[in-house]
């Protein structure tokens, strides 16, 4: 087995009498993006803080690149890049000075550091503002710098804690694109969010976390199937649908079909795979289809199913 970039298990943190994180565990391989999806107060930041060695844990183990992570293990920390949830840049320093300072803490220096800082400034689109103090930056620019600092030293594991909160759609897209890019380059990424769309777009695997516990974990598809969700398919039709509905009910993969006035509603497992078959059955029954609408279940509905609550209230 190849070495996992991050492996954690049994993570536990108790604040006074509040169990903030309870038996959280997962792993991330190189080139993989793992999402922690959960609502406010679910325990995402607390988990991340233990994984990055900021916070003492009350239980569990963490290894990064095979090195055990504790609050004092500098060798494990060297492999990790952290993008904190709250913007963590010095307002009275320029963008470049911020990058340079943190780069030095990772043992970078001289020409290498300067070149890498320029590279990162390019990636986060701040090259033309490099020598301005960050206190004059917009929220989105600060967010981008916040991310830039985390990936300056090319960490094996990049941890991003809700990096797109309060960012306009354009900046958000730029951020998501750079994460995708880094992942393709082989970085392992841990991404927390309560935006379902971000998790769906970026993450190879997702852990759904609530009340400090991981309720379910897997690829989007796995999660959806785990809770027995089906794609909802709606066919716009002309003509009598009764025969078609009966024929559809007999089809493999179709869980339920309902005929309405000028339409047929179906619940299907893997609609994409069965769509041709469905359409031919319907046409054979003498019904003309004028439109198809497929609604795939998403993580939002999975979350709703698991917790009985919406992801965002």
């Amino acid at each position: 087995m190849t070495q996992r970039t991050l492996e954690c298990s049994g993570l536990r943190k108790v604040f006074d009498d509040l169990v903030a994180v309870d038996d959280v565990g997962f792993h991330i391989d190189a080139g993989e993006t793992y999402g922690l999806l959960g609502p406010n107060g679910a325990g995402k930041t607390t988990s991340i803080s233990m994984i990055s060695g900021l916070l003492m844990r009350d239980g569990g183990t963490v290894t990064v690149g095979g090195r055990e992570m504790t609050t004092t293990s500098t060798d494990a920390k060297a492999l990790l890049g952290l993008v904190p949830q709250d913007i963590a840049v010095y307002p009275d320093l320029t963008a470049r000075e911020n990058l340079t300072f943190f780069g030095r803490l990772y043992d970078m220096d001289g020409k290498t550091l300067k070149a890498r800082a320029d590279e990162v400034l390019e990636i986060i689109g701040l090259s033309d503002r490099a020598d301005d103090r960050t206190e004059d930056f917009s929220g989105g620019m600060k967010r981008r710098l916040n991310i830039g600092i985390g990936l300056l030293h090319k960490p094996a594991l990049l941890i991003l804690d809700e990096p797109t909160v309060g960012v306009d759609p354009q900046s958000r897209n730029a951020i998501l694109e750079s994460v995708e890019h880094l992942s393709r380059e082989g970085m392992a990424v841990l991404y927390t969010t309560h935006y379902m769309e971000e998790a769906e777009r970026l993450c190879d695997r997702v852990g759904i976390i609530d009340h400090g516990q991981i309720k379910a974990e897997g690829t989007r598809r796995e999660l959806v199937q785990m809770v027995g969700q089906h794609d909802r398919v709606r066919l716009e039709t002309t003509g009598s649908v009764d025969a078609a509905v009966a024929a559809l009910d007999a089809l493999d993969g179709v869980a339920k079909s309902d005929g309405g006035d000028g339409s047929i509603e179906l619940l299907v497992i893997e609609a994409g795979e069965h769509l041709t078959e469905i359409l031919s059955v319907v046409t054979e029954s003498g019904v003309a289809v004028s439109g198809v609408d497929i609604d795939e279940p998403n993580l939002e509905s999975v979350f709703l199913h698991l917790t009985g609550r919406a992801l965002r209230d």
């Binding site: 803080s49 990055s52 060695g53 900021l54 916070l55 003492m56 609050t71 004092t72 500098t74 060798d75 920390k77 060297a78 990790l80 952290l82 904190p84 709250d86 913007i87 963590a88 840049v89 010095y90 307002p91 009275d92 320093l93 000075e97 300072f101 943190f102 030095r104 803490l105 990772y106 043992d107 600092i149």
Partner: protein, 398 residues
């Protein structure tokens, strides 16, 4: 570890230079106040030598009268020197050896000459004759002049005695061939005895410059010490904690920042108050030792506040209260040492009092005299510094 500590300190110093508040608190405010106080209490005057001496003649013999009437009488003819003859040594000592208040009009003397009984007959014989000088430590120049006067007189007597003894040898050959040796072997005539003065006192200008400097020092070091709370506020603390550096380097970086700010502010204040208002801080090495130790103690004490405060605002408030209370108790606003009673003893629970005491000791003595104060300040720094290091460390990754 040292490299990282320095990287962090350099970053912090750059921030402090940019926001300028350290400059205001560390240099401009104390200097401005010192200027005001110094102007109010010491109207600027040109330096001129003046001395008030007393003399006690317990002998009354010819040699003693010679000294009192001819030597001292000659000096008293000048406008700048007064000489008063007193009856008892105790009366003289009372004038020399007092806890001086630089601002009172109380009569004091810079030095007392004491001519013990038997002085004249001792001069006339080969015995050792003693002429004592009680020097006030507070007025070193005038006291130094008094010692020089006594030594000069002793030298003249010695010359006279050697001449007399030589004449005797030449006049009565063989009889007393060893007289010359005896005369030459006469011990030094006048021994100068320092008064065991407790009066260690700074002049008004120096007092206010020093008091304000140490008072504001406790505010200045906060700009370094509270750096950790600022990191927390700026959200950058998680970044530092996630970086592959020892936590001690983070704390050390803040302490070094505080230290550098403290040294710069104190050195500038010493130099500026000396050049601009004529403050007399004393031996530079002694002053520097006191400054270093004082900064150390300030960092320790303010570090405790920083360790247990939750926010920078809270720390600022607590620190201000503590700095003012300690400054007041430590006698940086007025010479509380002269108040007597419990307050004058209680002040030694503050580093401020030790710092001021150290400067006083330095003014009246030499570099080694600052050591008790330096040791006391370092102990403050060590005890409080250890407590705050422990507290900060514990708070970092709760």
């Amino acid at each position: 570890m040292m490299r990282t500590t320095w990287i962090i300190a350099r970053k912090d110093l750059r921030q402090r230079i940019r926001d300028r508040s350290a400059l205001i608190v560390g240099i401009l405010a104390p200097l401005g106040l010192a200027a005001i106080f110094s102007f109010v209490f010491n109207p600027i005057s040109e330096f001129e030598f003046s001395a008030d001496y007393v003399v006690v003649d317990e002998d009354g013999g010819p040699a003693a009268r010679l000294f009192v009437d001819q030597v001292l009488g000659g000096l008293a003819a000048s406008d700048d020197i007064t000489v008063e003859e007193l009856d008892t040594v105790d009366a003289a000592r009372a004038l020399v050896d007092v806890e001086l208040d630089p601002f009172s009009d109380m009569e004091t003397a810079d030095a007392a000459f004491v001519i013990p009984a038997g002085f004249s007959s001792a001069v006339a014989s080969p015995d050792e004759a003693r002429l004592e000088v009680l020097a006030s430590r507070g007025s070193s120049t005038a006291a130094g002049v008094a010692v020089a006067i006594a030594e000069q007189f002793a030298g003249e007597i010695q010359t006279a005695r050697v001449a007399a003894a030589t004449a005797e040898v030449l006049g009565a050959e063989g009889d007393r061939a060893d007289t010359g040796f005896r005369a030459l072997a006469i011990p030094s005539l006048a021994s100068v005895v320092d008064a065991e003065a407790t009066s260690k006192i700074l002049d008004g200008t120096t007092f206010y410059a020093a008091g304000l400097a140490i008072f504001f020092l406790f505010f200045t070091v906060q700009f370094g010490v509270n750096g950790l709370l600022e990191e927390r506020h700026a959200g950058t603390l998680p970044r530092l904690l996630a970086a592959p550096i020892p936590q001690a380097a983070i704390i050390g970086g803040k302490a070094i920042t505080a230290f550098v700010l403290g040294v710069v502010s104190m050195v500038v204040l010493v130099a500026a108050s000396t050049l601009m208002f004529g403050a007399e801080w004393g031996n530079p090495i002694g002053v520097f030792l006191l400054i270093l130790a004082g900064i150390f103690s300030a960092i320790g004490i303010m570090g405790i506040v920083g360790a247990f405060a939750k926010t920078a605002e809270q720390a600022g408030l607590f620190s201000s209260i503590i700095a003012v209370v300690l400054g007041f108790l430590g006698g940086t606003f007025f010479p509380i040492g002269q108040a007597g009673g419990i307050l004058s003893q209680l002040r030694f629970i503050t580093p401020h009092a030790w710092f001021m005491q150290g400067l006083g000791d330095l003014a009246g003595g030499n570099v080694a005299d600052v050591l008790p104060a330096v040791v006391a300040l370092v102990v403050f720094g060590l005890v409080c510094g250890a407590a705050s290091f422990y507290g900060v460390r514990k708070g970092l990754s709760r």
